[in-house]
Structures are given as C-alpha cells and as structure tokens.
C-alpha cells in the first residue's frame, strides 16, 4: 500500500459502482436528506450531490456518479462518470478521492471497475456492500487478504441495514486510510512496452495528461478501426507509430481488442483465488430462481404483469382521488381567502382566475404522480422492472424500442409526466428520446373529462352483444387509438428520424431484493420537487398569459360567454374557424381548444362558460343539454352531432394540449428543440387524424 495521499483534508468525494450494487442506498445512508439533484451541463444525465456531515461540524461533498460497469463510456451515463474522473466536466469539482461500491455477491465483475479506478491513481476506499447476500450465497471473502491484494482499504457494509456506515465514515475522516493503490494488473510484456511507449508519446506530443493518456493509449492500441479513421485527431508521427504497434502486435497473434479486458480479468482471478472461497450450494434453485420461473412463464408471466399493472392503476386512481380533491379544494379556499384581501378588479381576477386556479389545476395531479413514482420505485428496487422489460422486449422490439420503454408508456395512461420522467432507466439516448416523444399520445387521466362529456352527451348508452355498452366501447377505442398511434410514431421515428444502430439490449437481471422504503420516498420527493419547481414556474407564466388572453380586450356589458367571445382567445377561436371547419368544428370549439392548451380538462369548463352555464361542473347535465340543443342557423340541423363528438375526442387523443408535459420535456431533454418538435408533430397528426375521421364519418353518414 502506497500512502501517497498526504494530510490534505478531503473536500470532494465521488461515489461510483456498478448498477444494482446498492450505491444509491449507500449514498442515501451517508448523506440523508442533504441532497440536491440537477443536470450535468449540456447532457440529460442527472447529477446528484449530497453532503456528509461529521459530528465536529466538518463536511464533505459527495458526488453520486451514474452506475456503470466500466469506464469505457458506452452510454451517456458512463461517459459522464468517466469524464468526471478525468476532470473534463465544467462546474464539477475534480474528486479528491473515490468511494467505490462493490457488490460482494458479484465480486469479479465489480472488481473490473475498481481496477480501472485504481489505474487513474485516485485515493480510493472500497465499500464491500451486500456482504450478507454474499454469505448467504456461500461466498466467503477474506476481507483482510482482499484488501492486501487490491492495495486499498475495504469496509464491509450492508447499506440497507446501515451496517458498516459508521466504519466508513470514520475511514473517511482519517485521510490516511484512503490511499492510492499501485496498478497491480499486468499486460503481456510486449503489449506493456508498447502501451507505456504510446502513453509517454501522448503526454509528450499530444497534450495529454498522464491520467488521460493511459486510457487513450489503451483505446488506440485496442481499436479495431484502421489508423486512417484517426487522421486529423493526432499527429502523423503518432499515427505512424501506432500503425507499427498494430502491425507488430497483430503479427505476434494478439487479439488487441480483448487483451486489455482479459489481462484485467486475469488479475481479478488471481486476487479472488487468494481471498475468496465459494461453497457450492446444495440448494439448487434459489428463491430468485423460483420466482423467475413463474414471473417469466409463458402464461403466468403476462397474467402477473398485467395484474400488477391493473392493481397499480386501480390503486393510483382510488388513492389519488382523495388528495386530489383536497388539493383542488385547498386552491379554491386559497382563491377565496386571497379574494377577500384583494379588492375586485383586474388584479383580483388575475391572481384568482389566472395564477391560483391555473397552478392549482396542475398541482392537482401531484398525488397521481407521487403514487406512480412510489410504485415504479418499488418495482425497480425489487428487481421486477428488469423482468417486465425481459418479457416485453420482443413486443417493443417490433416497433424498434427497448423492453424498458414499456413501463414509461404504460405509466403515461395515468399521466405523461411521470412517464417521461421514468424514461431515465433507458440507457440508449435514442430509445429514450423516442419513448419520451410518443408517451403523451397515450391517453392520460386528464383526457377523461373530455371523453366523459362527449360520450355522455352523444353516445347512446345501448348495449352491444349483451355485455358491452356502446359508450364503454367508444372509450376503449379512444385509448387504443392513442396506444396504436404511439407505437406507430415510435416505429416511424426510429426508422426515419433517429436512424442508426441502437446499442444492443444487454440488461442485467439482478436478484430480487426487499425494496427500501427510504430510497423510494427520497426518489418520490426528488421527482415531485422537480415537477413542482420546473413545471410550476412555466405553468404559472402560461396560466397568467392565458388568463390575460381570455380576459382582454374587455367589454363592460354582457354575459361571460360574450366577454370570452370578445377576448383574444375568442378572437383566435373565430380566426381559426376556417381551419377548423374541415374538422367539423366551429369557433366555440376553437375557443375551447385554445383555452385548454394549458391543460386538457379546461376544455370542459370553457365550454361551460361559452354555453353560459352557471357553476357548470364537469359533465353537468345542463351543459350536455345545451350542447345537444344547439341548432346550426344555416342548415337548421343540430350543430353538435355524434360525429363532432367523435372528431373532438380523436383530436384530444392526438393533440399535445398540456403545458406541464412540455415543461417536463424541456427539462428532460435540456432544451426547447424536442418539446417544440413534439408539439408540432402532435398538432399535425391531430389535425390530419381529425380531418380523416370527419371525412370518413361524413361519407358513412351519406
């Protein structure tokens, strides 16, 4: 062990580890609630930081790096981890030391990452996590021996039970115990020589630091591509040197692409042989295996999957309705209270009808979002999510997506916001983007009031084949239309827009574990904070703008309907009428559509205002009667028909009438490009889809 680390006080530490190694649990145990979540500049990878507080008041910043199997940067997440360790990321302090979390029950693969970190000459301390699982599996690790062979301090931990956290904290205090280990894996002589030579050339002539040169030399030596592909990146001298290296090594019969990985694994094997004994288990099938035979069964697998989903949705709707009403009531109360303070007038209107009711409408969805994240967190933590992806991958593969895209799409039936936010589990950036782009096409719960009003008003409640009601079938048809369009668009986007090979579907199936409630609750807290903060600010702005547009220019006399008709929104509705006529809509519906750009269900209350319904509640009888009774002055026929209702529903299935989703898309994609694209493409297919529906409908009627 080389104690090159002096008595410098540690300020910034990064924590790194394989996926599923318990890194998040350990991070939470070390930092508690002292966490903040942000993004790395320019990319969509989440940056999570926390503070470790010591009894004497001193503190250390802990940076949670994305879970990664290696530093070879296969995915954006891994690239961030690598770049942080190479000091390439702006506004992210270069770590003074690393905590490397290693899953004791999966030692070999986890040690691979450690060997790469040791190579970077970082002071490192190992948290040998899930030591209890390893023991249960018959893996006995001689920690002292392992520590000696690796050259680093090892603290055995069980993060889920907080075992070893105290030891880890005191180790972090005494800087002496965090040491830089020597590189102890070795390459075959000839390669070692070429590697060292190339490393020094990179440092001497190509502006590399020792740290970056070491890795770059490995990449250059192992590349399967011809030297020509590096033209311009390096000097001609270096490239001709590299060419000679390639030729020499190839002639000696080395497989350059695997030699570095193999040499590391040989070192790992030597280390493990000395410090690990594995008792073969008598019990052939583990609990995990037994669960898997059912969960991935041809029949039971899908029965379980859809039952789990059905239960989750039932529960979300059942549990969320009470807090949703409370929040809605709370905002009404707040509006009333503020109404007493501010004298009637424009400001009164702006605050109550603009700001409070607008933000209230969005915050009402928070309970649904929270519950969805609770369940998604539990599914992820237990390991079931990976199985769901495993059994759904084939179906999703047909439209060019990944098994992991299924759950975000399914979540979007409740609300597209958690759907979009949960795409973070998809590693491939293209697959993730496509999933986010199509998620809002899935019929969310905010469309329900629109469907309900239209169906209750126009679809006769007759039964079909004795068991189904026509109304129910129409509703199902709308849901299927959304799902089908989402899959179709995903297929089109993958085929034409985001072309190119997706990274392979390689996914670990971790053993089933007891979920950690603390992790899940912290996760819910993070997500809801992001939603409230980011979405909240944009929505407040848009609510105020929409209020303004629906209020001005003002007329003093007249019914609310006349006032609305005269406002900017009304004028836009009238202005849009020529474009809406081909869809079978008039200016009144135009006003409804424009005013519900913020939130779909606003359509219902706007229609209430237009038809002069006092206190028009959702789906109220009087509104339905008014809509049914209206006569077209030109034709003398009812203005609103079954066909209009269906067209309107089709429009709402396909159109992006939700500012919160746009705000969340902006945050998740780190820019306005994709949310704007999404808004435009959905508007286009909504228009075209509704137009086709109207034309086909007219043709059927005649």
């Amino acid at each position: 062990m080389t104690n090159t680390n002096s008595q410098i006080k540690l300020k910034n530490i990064a924590i790194i580890g394989n996926p599923n190694c318990g890194k998040t649990t350990l991070f939470n145990a070390l930092t508690g609630l002292r966490q903040k979540v942000g993004n790395y500049p320019g990319v969509t990878v989440e940056k999570k930081e926390g503070k470790i507080l010591f009894d004497d008041g001193s503190e250390i910043n802990l940076l949670d790096l994305p879970g990664t199997y290696s530093l070879s940067a296969n995915s954006p997440d891994e690239k961030i981890a690598t770049d942080v360790l190479l000091g390439k990321i702006a506004k992210t302090p270069f770590p003074d030391a690393i905590i490397c979390v290693i899953d004791a029950s999966n030692l070999e693969r986890n040690l691979y990452l450690l060997s790469q970190i040791i190579d970077q000459h970082f002071p490192v301390i190992v948290a040998l996590n899930m030591i209890d699982v390893a023991e249960r599996d018959g893996i006995k690790i001689n920690v002292k021996e392992l520590s000696k062979n690796l050259g680093v301090v090892i603290i055995p931990t069980v993060a889920s039970k907080k075992n070893g956290i105290g030891e880890l904290l005191s180790a972090l205090r005494s800087t002496l115990s965090i040491s830089t280990a020597a590189r102890s894996w070795s390459l075959p002589e000839k390669i070692k020589f070429e590697h060292e030579e190339l490393t020094s050339l990179l440092v001497a002539n190509e502006n590399f630091t020792h740290r970056t040169a070491y890795f770059e030399a490995q990449t250059l030596l192992s590349t399967p591509y011809s030297i020509d592909s590096f033209q311009g990146t390096y000097s001609t001298e270096l490239l001709s040197h590299l060419k000679r290296d390639h030729d020499t090594l190839d002639a000696l019969g080395f497989d350059r692409s695997s030699i570095f990985v193999e040499s590391r694994y040989q070192w790992i094997k030597r280390v493990c042989d000395k410090s690990v004994t594995i008792k073969p288990k008598i019990d052939e099938l583990s609990i995990s295996d037994r669960i898997d035979t059912i969960v991935t069964h041809k029949v039971w697998g899908y029965v379980i999957f859809f039952s789990v989903m059905a239960i989750i949705f039932q529960t979300i709707f059942a549990w969320a309705s009470v807090p949703m009403e409370l929040i809605g009531g709370g905002f009404d109360w707040l509006g009333l209270q503020v109404g007493h303070i501010i004298p009637p007038g424009d400001l009164h209107d702006l605050v109550i009808n603009g700001a409070i009711s607008g933000v209230g409408a969005v915050v009402t969805f928070l309970p649904q979002i929270l519950f969805l994240f609770l369940f998604l967190g539990l599914l992820e933590d237990t390991g079931y999510m990976a199985r769901a992806a495993f059994i759904m991958d084939r179906l999703m593969g047909k439209v060019g997506l990944h098994g992991k895209s299924f759950i975000p799409l399914l979540s979007s039936f409740a609300c597209a916001i958690p759907g979009i936010m949960s795409t973070r589990t998809i590693e491939s950036p293209k697959d993730r983007l496509v999933t986010m782009l199509v998620a809002p096409l899935i019929s969310c719960s905010a469309r329900m009031p629109v469907y309900a009003l239209m169906i209750a008003t126009f679809i006769p409640n007759v039964s079909m084949l004795g068991i189904f009601s026509l109304a129910g079938l129409v509703l199902v048809a709308m849901y299927l239309l959304g799902l089908f369009t989402a899959l179709l668009m995903a297929f089109i986007f993958k085929k034409f827009l985001l072309k190119g090979q997706s990274p392979a579907f390689i996914m670990e199936l971790p053993p089933y574990r007891m979920p950690s409630l603390k992790n899940t609750i912290l996760h819910m807290w993070e997500r809801s904070r992001i939603f409230l903060k980011r979405a909240g600010t944009i929505i407040l702005g848009v609510s105020i703008i929409l209020w303004f547009l629906a209020t001005y220019p003002k007329i003093e006399q007249g019914t609310p309907s006349e006032k609305l008709s005269h406002s900017f929104v009304g004028q836009v509705g009238h202005f849009l009428e020529p474009t809406l006529t081909p869809l079978g809509f008039d200016w009144k519906i135009g006003i409804g559509i424009v005013s519900s750009l913020l939130q779909r269900e606003v359509f219902v209350s706007t229609m209430g205002t237009i038809y002069n319904i006092e206190n028009g509640t959702d789906n109220s009888l009087s509104l339905r009667e008014q809509i049914q009774k209206e006569i077209d002055p030109v034709t003398g026929l009812p203005k609103f028909t079954v066909l209009t209702a269906i067209c309107l529903m089709v429009y709402y299935v396909l159109a992006m009438q939700c500012m919160s989703t746009i705000a969340v898309m902006r945050r998740e994609t780190n820019g306005w490009k994709w949310p704007i694209f999404q808004f435009v493409y959905m508007s286009v297919i909504a228009y075209v889809g509704t137009f086709i529906t109207y034309r086909v409908g007219l043709w059927i009627i005649s």
Binding site: Y69, N74, Y112, I139, E262, H297, F390, A504, M507, L509
Partner: protein
C-alpha cells in the same frame, strides 16, 4: 470441439466462451467487460416467453441479451 453460437443452446445447457465474433466493436467491448471472455462458463437459463431475448448466467450473475447479440458469442458446448 464443436463450436456453436450462444443462441443455439437450450435452457439448462452450458458452454464455454470461445470468442466474440462481431464487427460491432462497442458490442464486443461491452460483452468482454461484462466478463464474457474466452474460457468463461456460461449457462443458458431461459428464453423469454415470446422467444427473445434470452437469459444467461455467467460469473454468478444473470444477464439478458437478444438472440441477435447472442449470435456473436461463439461457445463450445459442454
């Protein structure tokens, strides 16, 4: 020694990795780094209910990969 590709194993059958035969260097590196090296024993646990992907066991852990990728893993059957 009969060399076959990983996707032709049946559930419960074992093999030893010979090499990764693919021109996709990212895929190759990924599989190597996950521990699919020459000489590593590998067991096919199951096929997904719809026939794809497959679940394999290597170095004491479980991995799911599509058949398409499994085709590039050359193994000798045990």
């Amino acid at each position: 020694m009969n060399e076959i590709t990983l996707n032709s194993l049946r559930p419960g059958e074992c093999g030893v990795v010979e090499n990764i035969a693919t021109t996709d260097s990212t895929l190759k590196l990924r599989l190597l780094e996950l521990g699919l090296l020459k000489g590593t024993s590998i067991e096919l646990i199951r096929y997904a209910p719809l026939g794809d992907p497959i679940e394999i066991k290597i170095r004491g852990y479980r991995l799911s990969i599509r058949k398409e990728e499994a085709e590039s893993v050359v193994i000798s059957k045990v």
